[in-house]
């Protein structure tokens, strides 16, 4: 089977090529078949491959397929090599499976769009690039996938390019992630300089021998890679692009900006875990970045009114959890959260897309309402996703993964009570804004007339994802409950087991606190938005609170800050120098010679005697010199 590994990325690529080259001449039906079919086929291949992998794990822990030599010079050589191990397998599964569902959904969602072919071409290209990212066995190929998904994200955010705001959002996404990518590129250079290879298995093998733990270089490498991850995964200093990226169609938000691409940073760090483990500083930074991000983004999600922006901030926040888990060394917990998050967040976005489409592209949640009765299917699926997001205990996938992270935030080797507390606060906030979202959208009275109900192609993916959002957590239970650790067993073939600190309180205490926090969050949300609505109205009168609200609404004003710090100075610099400083220099030279020409041409007045006097004075001058010397 694994000799057909290349087909997994190649199928979507073929889909992309077919659609981009011939898309204009194909009917919508064929376009949908190609677009959905290629990804579905890839998903089927992945599942077969996965089953084979699970049944008969390869002795070296991975399947490898070499396609061709990419470049080779001096001591550097890298090939187009595909490699599947347990970690990539998890990602492969999510990308192709969730990807296929989203493709099915979008075949209906985008049915009226003029650029149907372009949409599926970009989506297929994205899937291909994302697959390359996780299948790459060297960092250069991974960088290819990394930038490739950035491109597709750009293309799809700006899919409705005729609205300038969408283009700005697309550009912003590209610029901000590019900053991270550049840092990552520098990290690659440094890594290559130190180790002489960019092959991932070799790096993982050689790094511990080559670097002493906590040496400055390894810290630098880890931090640079982390910066790359922060850009792609919208973590703290580089998170500003993701809320704006919601300008793209909803399936795009579901696939790229929730389930897959934004977790590339998580994948990168998990992939390079050896490098990170060697550098405690980088681990701490990762954890702190994750904790801060989850808190900051969660706070922003509290006050958003655009349904997709709420989900976007919650995505940032959930990825913050993953980073936190990575930072404390809870590798498998991070990946597990990625796994469940992919289902429920994709579900939420798809459901939100269905709502938005039914309500004539209305994004504002306060103009929705009362949809519980009108769109029961969407309501129930959304509820499943929201429960997972809020981590309702035991009945949602999100609980199992988030509970693990919360536990490890305190107990893992790098954990600390402080991190745990922030994560707990985040959990409360999450539950609160999820409840707010649910209540405002589905309860109350209807404010907008429903246009078109979602068709079957849209509801089936919702149902499948909803089921998964509930049951996906059951494959991994906390130790003290049911001893079922299918997921971590699989992932720990690649990632190290989580080290626990000694001398810890009982795990059950944390679980109860976490569960209670989530429930308390839901309760508070209920109180504010359903039980005692007057409180909010009262708060709206207070200017101080409104200022805080606006500050949070603007995403802690990071955009304004960057605008003042970087964007405006840069634009100013380029504007004043538009006509090129050096041009002035050369024009100055030209001007001087022209002036000199004018000056000397006075002497050329056509008078013969004048010229002769000139000659005479010259002779006298020379003779005088002769006499003087």
């Amino acid at each position: 089977m694994h000799q057909y590994l290349f087909l997994i990325p190649a199928l979507p690529l073929a889909g992309f090529l077919l659609l981009s080259l011939g898309g204009r001449h194909l009917s919508r039906k064929i376009i949908a078949w190609i677009g959905v079919g290629s990804v579905s086929a890839a998903a089927i291949f992945t599942i077969i491959l996965g089953l084979q992998f699970l049944q008969a794990p390869p002795p070296e822990g991975s399947y490898t397929q070499t396609l061709w030599q990419w470049m080779s010079t001096e001591n550097f050589s890298c090939a187009i090599n595909l490699r599947v191990d347990a970690l990539s397998l998890v990602f492969l599964f999510i990308i192709t499976f969730v990807g296929a569902l989203i493709h099915i959904y979008s075949s209906a969602f985008m049915r009226h769009d003029r650029d149907y072919a372009r949409f599926f071409a970009s989506m297929n290209l994205f899937v291909c690039a994302m697959l390359l990212l996780v299948l790459a066995d060297n960092l250069v190929l991974m960088y290819l996938g990394w930038e490739g998904v950035g491109l597709c994200s750009y293309l799809l955010i700006g899919f409705w390019y005729e609205t300038p705001a969408n283009c700005h959002a697309a550009n912003k996404a590209f610029y901000v992630t590019r900053i991270g990518d550049t840092a990552m590129a520098i990290g690659l250079f440094l890594l290559f300089k130190e180790l002489g290879t960019l092959n991932i298995p070799e790096i993982l093998q050689q790094a511990p021998q080559h670097f002493t733990a906590a040496s400055p270089n390894i810290t630098l490498i880890a931090l640079l890679l982390l910066a790359g991850g922060m850009g792609k995964s919208a973590q703290l200093p580089l998170q500003t692009w993701l809320p704006d990226a919601m300008a793209g169609p909803s399936p795009v938000s579901a696939l790229i900006h929730a389930a897959t691409m934004v977790t590339a940073g998580v994948y990168l760090i998990a992939r390079m875990h050896v490098v990170f483990q060697l550098s405690p500083v980088a681990m701490d930074v990762t954890a702190i970045v994750g904790a801060l991000t989850l808190f900051i983004a969660g706070c922003s999600a509290l006050v958003q009114t655009d349904i997709k922006r709420i989900l976007a901030y919650s995505t940032i926040s959930q990825i913050g959890y993953m980073f936190l888990a990575l930072g404390v060394g809870a590798w498998s917990a991070a990946i597990f959260h990625f796994f469940t998050h992919a289902f429920f967040k994709a579900l939420l976005f798809l459901a939100a897309g269905a709502i938005i489409e039914s309500l004539h592209h209305e994004h504002d949640i306060f103009k929705m309402g009362g949809l519980r009765k009108k769109m029961p299917l969407v309501f129930w699926t959304f509820l499943a996703g929201a429960a997972a997001l809020a981590a309702l205990p035991l009945i949602s996938a999100g609980f199992f993964s988030k509970d693990q992270i919360l536990w490890y935030a305190w107990s893992a080797g790098n954990g600390s009570p402080m991190l745990w507390f922030v994560a707990l606060a985040g959990a409360f906030i999450t539950a609160f804004y999820t409840t707010r979202l649910m209540i405002v959208v589905f309860w109350g009275e209807m404010k907008t007339h429903i246009g078109e109900y979602p068709g079957r192609a849209m509801t089936i993916p919702l149902v499948i994802l909803a089921i998964l959002s509930v049951i996906a957590g059951f494959i991994e239970w906390p130790h003290n409950m049911v001893h079922l650790t299918l997921f971590s067993d699989l992932v720990q073939k690649v990632l190290p087991a989580t080290m626990l600190q000694d001398d810890l309180p009982e795990e059950i205490v944390f679980q109860i606190i976490a569960a209670a926090t989530a429930l308390f969050g839901v309760y508070t949300g209920y109180v504010f938005y359903q039980g005692n609505k007057a409180l909010i109205e009262e708060w709206k009168q207070s200017s101080a609170l409104m200022q805080i609200r606006n500050f949070l609404f603007k995403g802690w004003a990071f955009d304004q800050l960057y605008d003042a710090l970087f964007v405006r100075p840069f634009k100013f610099l380029t504007r004043i120098n538009k006509s090129d400083l050096f041009d002035k220099l050369y024009n100055g030279i030209a001007l001087v010679s022209r002036r000199l020409n004018q000056l000397f041409s006075i002497s050329q007045n056509g008078s013969l005697r004048w010229y002769i006097v000139g000659v005479l004075i010259g002779i006298i001058f020379i003779l005088t010199l002769q006499l003087m010397l």
């Binding site: 050329q604 007045n605 056509g606 008078s607 013969l608 005697r609 002769i612 005479l616």
Partner: protein
């Protein structure tokens, strides 16, 4: 066999040259300018011949011959030009012929 002060000859040549130069500088009529140029050439030739005599070499005289040839062709071309100028512009005033101006 007779003796001269070699400086004296050259000073005479210099005086003649400068006189020619003054002519060139002060006169406006092209004919006079040409005449003055002849004087200057002649003075130069005198200096050559004097130098030749001083060293007893024929080179000075040879040079005079070349100067002569040059003066002849110069004056013939120059006079042809004067004629044309006069026909076209009806003047011989060098100050009025300023086509060389920038």
């Amino acid at each position: 066999m007779s003796f001269y002060n070699s400086q004296a000859v050259l000073i005479v040549a210099a005086i003649l040259f400068v006189l020619g130069l003054i002519g060139v500088l002060t006169r406006k009529n092209i004919i006079f300018i040409l005449i003055s140029i002849e004087v200057m050439l002649n003075a130069a030739g005198l200096a050559f011949v004097a130098a030749g005599s001083r060293w007893g070499q024929p080179d000075g005289q040879v040079m005079f011959l070349f100067i002569l040839a040059m003066a002849a062709s110069e004056v013939s071309v120059g006079l042809a030009l004067v004629m044309q100028t006069y026909h076209q512009h009806k003047t011989l005033d060098a100050e009025k012929l300023r086509a060389l101006r920038d």
